[in-house]
């Protein structure tokens, strides 16, 4: 089988200065769930408006129709532009709408992507949108393609908790950036990886630590803590 590009869900944007910005594009399942959450909220509002307008009679039903029209078409636009690209559903799922260059989405793009929901909906239940999302590498439905927008994951801060018992240790040799990141990763993730596996991994870095087995692992973790800024 010919070697091909590795499967990845990340999208890169390079600035003219040569700086890469990386975000993860959000796919169908979380977006469907986000849509359902939004849909639930809208239904709740429709019910409240419906009950209230029932008391007013004919005028009430007119108001109800106008409000539902506005809500159905401009609910996402409102939230996307004024709430940093997040409708309540997207917020619950940790998603955000941005332009394809990761800048915040504006009125024009948001209106385009939400008016085209009609196209994505065809023939029912967003079937076209689903197909489009699956076929485009960055999970864009037709509205996203037209508006040049993208749904990405809101970056979550990873808590930096390390065992305070580990003594920081200056790396004895120069490390590449990937190696530094890997060692820090091992130190941070040591809670979820079994001890024997950790030693096995640490053994691969004997050229760095100069020791093998648990001694090598503890030295490696010391280097990790040092790289994280522990300098005692």
């Amino acid at each position: 089988m010919p070697a091909s590009k590795l499967i990845d869900n990340q999208v890169r944007v390079e600035t003219p200065e040569g700086i890469d910005f990386v975000q993860a594009a959000a796919g169908p399942v979380p977006r469907i769930l986000a849509y359902l959450i939004d849909f639930g909220w809208r239904c709740l509002v429709y019910m409240v408006i419906g009950i209230l307008s029932a008391f007013i009679g004919g005028l009430g039903s007119g108001v109800f129709l106008i409000l539902t029209f506005l809500l159905e078409w401009f609910y996402p636009v409102f939230f996307e532009v004024l709430r940093k690209g997040q409708t309540p559903g997207k917020k619950a799922m940790g998603l955000r709408v941005v332009n394809t260059d990761f800048t915040p989405i504006g009125w024009g793009a948001s209106i385009v992507r939400n008016l085209l929901r009609a196209a994505d909906f065809f023939p029912a239940f967003y079937a076209t949108g689903m197909i489009s999302m699956t076929l485009t590498g960055r999970f864009q439905r037709l509205g996203d393609l037209a508006a040049g927008s993208l749904v990405i994951y809101q970056e979550a801060e990873r808590p930096l908790t390390v065992d305070p018992e580990i003594k920081p240790l200056m790396p004895p040799v120069a490390l590449t950036r990937e190696e530094r990141q890997g060692i820090v990763d091992l130190t941070l993730r040591s809670g979820s990886i079994s001890d024997s596996r950790q030693e096995e991994l640490a053994d691969l870095l004997t050229p760095v630590t100069g020791e093998s087995g648990s001694a090598g692992l503890s030295r490696l973790k010391g280097i990790g803590v040092w790289l994280l800024g522990g300098k005692k």
């Binding site: 991994l201 691969l204 004997t206």
Partner: protein, 519 residues
Amino acid sequence: MNLNELQLKTRVRTPWQALDVGVLMARRWYRPMLFAWMLPALLLYGLLSLVLYDSPAWVMLGVWWCKPLLDRLPLLMLSRYIFNERPTGVFNGRSLLRLYRFDMFSALFWRRADLRRSFNLAVTVLEQQKGAARARRAAALTPGSGSAASWLTMVMLHLEILVPMSIVLALGAFVGSYVDVDPDIFFTFDAGFYAHISNLALLLGMSVIAPLYLGCGFSLYLNRRVELEAWDLELLFRESYRRRTEAGAKAAVTNSAKPAAAGAANILGLALAASIGLGLLSPLAATPVEASVYSAEAAGAEQAREEIRQILETPPFVIEQQVEEWQWKDKLTEAPEPESLEGWEWLADLAGWMDQMNLGWLFQLVEVLLWAGVGLLLFLLTRALLRHLQTYNGPEYTPPQQTTGPRVIMGMEISAGSLPDDMDAAVSRAFEQGDMRLALSLIYRHILHLLVDGRRVPLESWYTELECAAAVRAQPELKVDNRFDELTRLWLRLAYAHQLPERQQAERLYRELREVLAV
């Protein structure tokens, strides 16, 4: 399984992101997975129809019930594809039978309602675990990913039903209102032939969604294993190990006079043997074949870098041109084409008429008027500017704040209170006692005090000696000439080099500086 061949960018992702990667995986190997699901399903449907042709609903229920078995083959194929292998060994009768029979009853009975089916399926199919061992393994994998796996099943379950409905609605939309289709025929299960057609539509929906469902579940499983077994770190560290041992081997080769190739092979071989020994439990074990691949790769990279450099030094990246005379940047290379005069003949006629009339005086008059207009405009502009300047008082004036000089410079107190009242006596006493350091520091501090508090030289507490000297030099109105520089040099030599100054010179400098700086 060989991690180097993994077709996935290894990274620990959130469960939701793992689901997205699953969609990408399903997309890449969609067709084989679709057929691996659909053909057995159709076969099963046919077999069941032979027995139960008159009750299509039961046939459909039977196929639907067997979904956990039908899911196995595409999953197995995907697990081969993801490691860049062809799933050739799968398609013979015996291994297929083994695949479907393994742990069949529990899969079809008490685990049929498992909400995390596609996530847990890999434990059964790929790890070949059953019973309590399977349950333990599933429980170990579940934390963190369980809810995403359940939501995945919920979403895909609905999509399966929505696919045939969308197809029907799309057909309806395209047919329009000319044909009156009774939508009920797709939902009435005992309408014979129609019911079978609607069943096939449902089957199509299931087959279309199955690769996505399995891909997402498998991706979630892989993500969990990447997290628990740190596959990403293994790939990274292995690469680093290779680089470092190779560098070491190279160094050894250049240092020793032995036959180079044999030495390198030995060392490399030793290193690789060690790595195999260490990596017994690891899913990835480097072999000598891989080693040669690695070195070939490295050589290729070197060559490629050289080629890139060469390309970057040739046109169109670099255009060399020798120019020996001045020339305009935007030289017109060709005369602009005369514009077509179509429709403007009357203007030409007018010009011709004017030529005949000899109207030169009129043009001169217009020219004079134009210049006069320009002059007037300039005059008005100048006047407006002058008016503006008269009313403009310049930027808002803020009186400089009364700044007090620093109390401490370079860690030395220089305020009046910190110095002895009778400086001369203190200095000469220090000289008598032979404590040059004390004497000179007193002198230096006093001079700094005079500079900062008496003459308001803007010195800051963080200045070094040389910066202080430069700040003093920058104010020639102090008339210290280079005496302060000299004092600074004396002080630096004493303070840092322990070279004792001459008493006469120090006292002379002190006296003169005090005279100059006296307020």
